[in-house]
Symmetry: C2
């Protein structure tokens, strides 16, 4: 392992000069610069990032925690994160949380132990450590920001960048109501995800505002997975009061729902309307193309990363959520219910 010392020896200068050359060649005079350049080439020197980061006390890493890589919507958010991260010379470390979500303290600890300079959560936080009833401690606050997700109030407030999930869901539900639907079902994701709880809240709010009843079994868990959503849909189809419209908390579940409905020889939207959430890139390729709520995924990612970098630089970014606009995208999976009631 050839070090800066060896380069300095070969070039006949001090290590400080070599270091300066590497970090900003302008600090070194032309003739010296050439000597160093030459020596680096000769020795095949490569700067040791480990040593540099150690000395600087910065990892240059942003950790992104998400339930599962390969969710099309999150992938788009990640794109936004990457774009900005690259500009700021941060690398992206991925942590799939899957089933084992971490507590806020555990995330904080990753920063304290210098595994990352900051953390973006696309995943929910669990309130307490398994077993204990350990409250979020008042440890030194680490740069952590939530993207898309929200957090339950009892955990305290943390900065976030997201859409207003409740309003968006209410808007989607309203649209179905305006089309004339009254039997509207809702397939949510996971209980642990406040994001889908917010959406459920919006759905219920809209139903209530329209004085529409939500029958038992109309609100059901799809688990954010294809299989879960298929099962949920089958349940809804066999419901005594079969809904005329289904609102899925994300587009992938809507995809699964469409498949199940067709398999049952029902037509969309004639027999059942479907509305999704996220407007992933496959949404418009579905048959029929999916009506859904569009989120500016890349923008969310970019804003999140930007705000996080401010926090890392020591600026106070507060805890107010930064709300970005959503949009109802009307395609052909929704229509007025058939008249035969």
């Amino acid at each position: 392992m050839v070090s800066i010392k060896e380069v300095a020896r070969v070039a006949g200068v001090s290590t400080a000069t070599v270091s300066r050359y590497i970090n900003d060649p302008k600090q070194v005079k032309q003739p010296t610069r050439e000597k160093v350049q030459q020596a680096i080439a000769e020795t095949n020197y490569a700067p040791n990032s480990l040593a540099r980061n150690f000395r600087r006390g910065k990892t240059g890493v942003i950790l992104v925690a998400l339930p599962s890589i390969g969710t099309p919507f999150f992938a788009d958010v990640m794109k936004g994160i990457s774009t900005i991260a690259k500009d700021m010379h941060y690398s992206i470390l991925i942590k799939e949380t899957q089933l084992n979500q971490l507590t806020y303290d555990e995330y904080t600890n990753l920063v304290l132990s210098k595994q990352a300079d900051g953390i973006i959560l696309l995943s929910a936080i669990i309130p307490f450590a398994t077993g204990g009833r350990q409250r979020p401690s008042s440890q030194r606050q680490a740069p952590i920001i939530l993207s898309c997700e929200n957090v339950t109030p009892e955990l305290g407030r943390y900065p976030s960048v997201r859409i207003d999930n409740t309003s968006a869901a209410a808007e989607a539900t309203d649209y179905l109501i305006k089309l004339g639907h009254s039997r509207i079902a809702f397939v949510f994701g996971l209980q642990s995800s406040t994001l889908t709880l917010d959406r459920e809240r919006g759905y219920r709010k809209a139903m209530k505002a329209a004085k529409l009843a939500v029958a038992d079994g109309w609100v059901t868990e799809g688990g954010l997975t294809l299989d879960g959503a298929r099962k949920a849909t089958r349940l809804l189809l066999s419901h005594a009061e079969r809904p005329t419209a289904i609102f899925c908390a994300n587009d992938e579940m809507a995809m699964a729902a469409i498949h199940e409905i067709k398999s049952a020889n029902l037509q969309i939207p004639r027999d059942i309307s479907i509305i999704g959430f996220d407007d992933i890139r496959y949404a418009e390729l579905l048959d029929p193309p999916l009506t859904t709520i569009s989120q500016p995924a890349a923008e969310i990612g970019e804003r999140t990363m930007l705000r996080l970098s401010q926090a890392i630089d020591g600026r106070d970014i507060g805890v107010e959520p930064e709300i970005v606009p959503h949009k109802l995208v009307i395609r052909r999976s929704t229509a007025s219910p058939a008249k035969r009631q």
Copy 2:
């Protein structure tokens, strides 16, 4: 920043003892252990990974380079990688190569400069640095392994874990031929990706073996994107000798093709058969469910990571590709061509 030194002071022991306690408590006698434990709690000490990694000369990081996160197939490979990586206490650093692919030397340099202990490439390598005709240098070999991808022979041979893309593509094409198709088109991905070139080779081999002609324009670029594939499909549909079957180099492009074909009021498989590649999780939800080549994505990821870790540990893993089995999955997007010729 509280360090091991402070803990040692508080506990009334030496730094060596604290270090030993952290790395393997069994090395420390019970009474001492308790003192250290106590001191750590008291001082709120968190080990500094930066210092540890620096001292050990290991980053604990595996870099995974891939064209674009959010490709469902790659996401599944990544799952396999993650699983093993977690077991081995490696973190996963993501590098989206997108349009700017790197040379082999550039990847090697990431290891030499201690940004990662090893690299997995799900992305192609470009032969030469932009501008120069710099050949892959004989620099010290870094632990780099290709997953899924292959590499053009002139770049030399590197270890890889993948299916036999050529055979798999030939098999898919054969299946269409056996169904009675003779006008078979092929939508490939990117020119730079040897992976899709291999598949094209398989397609051509099968066509040739069956003495079938490949008309001009039947082999066309979809660019691995939805939009690219839609455009490619439209081109094929308006071709003077319209194919009766289209083989897409991946399932996402097949998804786009299905959409376009339906938009043109043609039926699948009655008017046109479609076959994909990868068997992503959406394949069976499509309408009609997609016939495709299934790859053991997670297994590929696992094997890759396993083999890479051996290379990191200094073992010689050779350059022989590790070939895993693929499988033709027949669903309903393929059928014999309609008799009206």
